[in-house]
Symmetry: C2
């Protein structure tokens, strides 16, 4: 087999090449009741009129309008013919009007009226809703529940919708199925699950094939079968040009590789191929690469093949961080976006292509087009939403010091339709974000020389801003280790530190100074983790013998904890946002009995000061 | 049984009463793969870290960084220990850095380097993606495909999602199932189909019960069973206070009626009840009343019960017509909205509560709150979109004279992602809409005294506007009847006319004048239909003996046609919009070979002038 190499093409070029490998759509006829959200494959016409005949629009009597001419209070008319009708009853052909029952008097079996009826009054004419032969919906129409109601009323019981069969092949000898805890060197196969959910939402009927090890003949067999059984095939992983990357060769062996490598990041080693006139996509194995390929290559392919897929809504958002990007590459960066005051603000999330949580945490993304080398912090960029605009409006952006209780607060506010997005920059990072108006609230715990927390820093760094401080909790910081090491034993102990500017590191430095310990005596002092849990995990995995974190993080991973100090973990919020609904929900959550219970359960928190408000300026 | 009467409460009051009848949610555990779009019932936490151990982030060798200190080009270092790793391989605990393979030289079995490695370089740390105990998603989170990927990677195979079981009971002796052509007085049951699709999209697991005739004991039996088997029950129809409306009494007999009648239009006779602590909604039978109740009563109920449902996007739109509304009633009017230039414009659709096509044709709706008596044409109102904003951007608004080929054009442009919304006001109505900038294009056929079509009218009514005229087709107008009646035979023949201001009526008047026939000689001259098909249908149902319409309408209903005149049916478009993408797609469709084939197939059109462009001013 000839080994092929990546020869990278631009995204625009790749999109134009997709035209050579369109999905042969496979319209299917499905029961009308199951068609919500699907796309019609052909126009639907009414085969009869609704209503088919004239109906009474009121309870009353059907009359011939000519018989009513001249009727008045002074000269009532006794009708020669008329029949009683209720709303919805047929008005027989010989009648051309309905008189409301309250305007009718009866004498024996005859009806008397005192007002003339104009022709066709109170008659619901045949065809009022739709006339025979008129189009109900065109093709390429996304069916809504109200369309289903109308189509059912017009006699339609099944509809032909656009669709395609998609085969998804997970390859890789390291793969284990979800639910199996991965051993060393094993990876849980998740990408074909994501792809199946993604493609189903576009009208695909997805089949996931069994886990296929990195063996060329096995991959070839599964691929041949998948091409036979589907209209589109996605091969997950093995799409690079490494020694165990067989996807490109296998596609080339059975058909044709049109593109191997697209200048996008993440997702560069994508393959666009064609076997028996059906598109075959090689999707890279890193989860965010796979996501990017689904969104930027596979979705346009579906759209080009004839299924309308709505484009994401764009919002202009101010970036909170500078993003460098390689010119010549279209880079996609996941964002947590929220509206602060009147302005949309977007915080870039981790760009590691193995960090699936970036996708979970994001509600938007940014394309940095290939001609740009990035964006500066503060620039307004076009962000594409991955949630509905109304949901993005629910986002509250929290930037600063991390604490495990933020997860629990996120859970509490979510019940109030507020989506908490937290970015962990440490307390000083939080202050800067607050100053720049890049967040709704900054969690901070900055010990000042006078022993007070937070207020001296706010007075210094945001001297002209009115700030409210809401205490999340008092909390205990201490040394986490496997052996119960105390702060005095740190010299000579391998250590995992927090990043510069984090309150925890500043507290550590303060406590070390008090004890006359120099940071140089602590090996690993420069190694940084960005969260308490990250510190505890480094200790648990043996990367370090000790670190400093909050009690709840040590407890979560079942590690001994030696207390060092109690501190005040507070949310700094510009006073002008204190009546923002999202901020109010967050403060309400902090003050709720539920949250106090959580603090008590987690341990290491002083819940008595949770919710206490202070004011700076 | 006590007969209860409507005692109408305000919508706000009804919404507050819903709090007394919340749906007891029924969370269900479903396979992760089927969870896209569902709402988590509880937070999901990671049970292990990803990755669990440190992994190589590059192909190379794992080293102890201390061994590399001092390495340089001048003094290469031979490493005492090191092992070969590929990207994704485990970095064993004794190592703390990875050196890229291109920076490594080998001698026998030993590795030589010329650059020191900093600790933890090219190592993907344990917990980089997520650490054990961290929250993946909170409760009340709408699951996206990318969330499914992450959850699968973190070992999750099933999720508990919020849901409820909904029972839907269609009542009414007049009902027949979809697919059965309704006889006189029969109605196709479509509302529970619409409700099932609607509630499914909100997380409901729906059961439709059999058609239940208007018999109190049968309704009671089905209702008891539905309440036992579900968490929410919707009874379709029978919710008014007429002699055959048993829904309220039946609910009262088994439980409690909290509200009978809400001041909304359509949808007033809605019932909010409670049986065995489960909400029971009486949904009116008129389709648009049912739709309004689903949107304005049932959806808030689901939301209040704890399932987040996004609110529709609001756009500010200029109304094209005055809407009167009764003060004291919240009225909901369906709209066809489109962006014309930079402005959103919204055309109200038929308010008849039996006109389901209004829902099909709409992409938005307007709430006229109870304190208002309506809106004036030209006012900017808050319109709620029922489609995604991106789809609403695809709408092209066509206002003016009707022709059956507009359906076919709608079908052709839909394939280009353009959604054609046409409103039938007649040619003069089209001119006015064009003048007010209320539409993208106005189809008109206005015969001037000099024999020319359209241009003299545009010059008179829009004297300062540059207008392009695109000919849709030449077309034949004539007399439709069952007996082949000609225009000369109209005196004494019962007639169905078109509305004032329609080109067809103006043409008829012109032709009658030529022949010396007075309109008074034609019975029914004042009876108006608004479309060609409407005219033909009135003739087919026997409502009138003759009418004037285009050949294709007569042909569609299989009726004889006696030609009267050939005319020029053109689209008038402001020149400034000729490069609007939607307008370009429409013009392209008119000029397409497909459209010419359609004109030939329908008959009665001169396809040779289709697409011809003229310019006014």
């Amino acid at each position: 087999m000839v080994k092929r190499y990546l020869s990278v093409v631009s995204l625009d070029k790749a999109l134009s090449i997709l035209e050579e490998a369109l999905i042969p759509l496979f319209p299917e006829t499905i029961p009308l009741e199951e068609s919500a959200g699907r796309i019609t494959a052909q126009p639907v016409f009414a085969t009869y009129s609704v209503p088919e005949v004239h109906l009474a629009a009121m309870d009353g009597i059907a009359v011939r309008s000519v018989d009513t001419v001249g009727a008045s209070e002074q000269s009532p008319v006794t009708l020669p013919v008329a029949i009683r009708v209720n709303t919805g009853n047929v008005v027989p052909p010989e009648y051309d009007a309905v008189i409301m029952i309250e305007d009718v008097w009866t004498e024996d079996t005859r009806y008397i009226i005192r007002k003339p009826a104009s022709p066709w009054q109170h008659v619901r004419p045949a065809g009022e809703d739709i006339a025979e032969s008129e189009m109900v919906v065109p093709s390429h129409h996304r069916i809504r529940p109200s369309d289903i109601g109308a189509l059912a009323a017009y006699g339609i019981v099944s509809v032909k919708v656009l669709g395609f069969r998609a085969g998804l092949i997970p390859t890789g000898s390291e793969l284990v199925p979800p639910g199996t805890r991965p051993g060393p060197g094993q990876v849980v196969e998740s990408n074909t699950r994501m792809a199946a959910a993604w493609l189903s939402s576009l009208g695909g009927r997805c089949t996931r094939y069994p886990l296929t090890p990195d063996q060329p003949d096995l991959i070839r067999d599964t691929l041949s079968r998948a091409v036979r059984e589907n209209d589109l095939v996605v091969v997950s992983a093995g799409s690079s040009a490494g020694t165990r990357d067989y996807t490109a060769d296998t596609i080339a062996g059975l058909g044709e590789v049109l593109v191997h490598g697209v200048a996008i990041k993440p997702g560069k080693p994508v393959i666009i191929g064609k076997i028996q006139k059906k598109p075959v996509i090689g999707m890279p194995g890193y989860p965010l690469s796979a996501l990017t390929v689904l969104r930027e290559i596979v979705t346009p392919l579906v759209r080009l093949s004839g299924i309308p897929v709505p484009e994401p809504a764009l919002i202009p958002a101010r970036l909170t961080a500078t993003l460098h990007s390689e010119s010549g590459t279209d880079e996609f960066v996941l964002l947590a976006a929220g509206r602060i005051g009147l302005t949309w603000v977007a915080t870039p999330l981790s760009r590691g292509s193995g960090v699936q949580m970036s996708a979970v945490r994001s509600n938007a993304y940014l394309r940095i087009i290939s001609s740009l080398e990035g964006y500066e912090a503060g620039e307004v960029v076009p962000a594409s939403l991955t949630v509905r605009p109304a949901q993005a409006e629910e986002a509250i952006l929290i930037t600063g010091s991390h604490d495990p209780v933020l997860d629990h607060l996120a859970e509490l506010v979510q019940q109030d339709h507020v989506e908490l997005h937290s970015t962990h920059t440490g307390s000083m990072g939080g202050l800067i974000a607050l100053k720049r108006n890049d967040c709704h609230a900054a969690p901070i715990h900055l010990l000042a020389p006078d022993g007070d927390y937070n207020t001296p820093y706010l007075e210094k760094y945001l001297p002209r801003e009115e700030i409210a401080l809401i205490c999340v909790a008092g909390r205990e910081q201490g040394i986490v280790s496997k052996k119960g090491i105390s702060i005095d034993e740190l010299p000579g102990t391998s250590f995992i530190n927090r990043q510069k500017g984090s309150g925890t590191r500043m507290l550590l430095d303060h406590e070390l100074r008090l004890r006359g310990i120099a940071s140089g005596e602590i090996p690993g002092y420069d190694r940084e983790a960005t969260t308490h849990i990250g510190v505890a995990l480094a200790v648990k995995t043996g990367e370090a013998e000790a670190g400093m974190c909050v009690y709840s993080a040590a407890k979560a991973l079942g590690l001994p904890f030696m207390p060092v100090a109690q501190e005040r973990y507070e949310l700094a919020i510009r006073s002008e946002y204190m009546d923002d609904q999202r901020v109010m929900a967050l403060v309400k959550a902090i003050r709720s009995p539920r949250f106090r219970e959580i603090l008590l359960r987690l341990g290491g928190y002083d819940e008595s000061i949770a919710g206490v408000q202070r004011q700076v300026h």
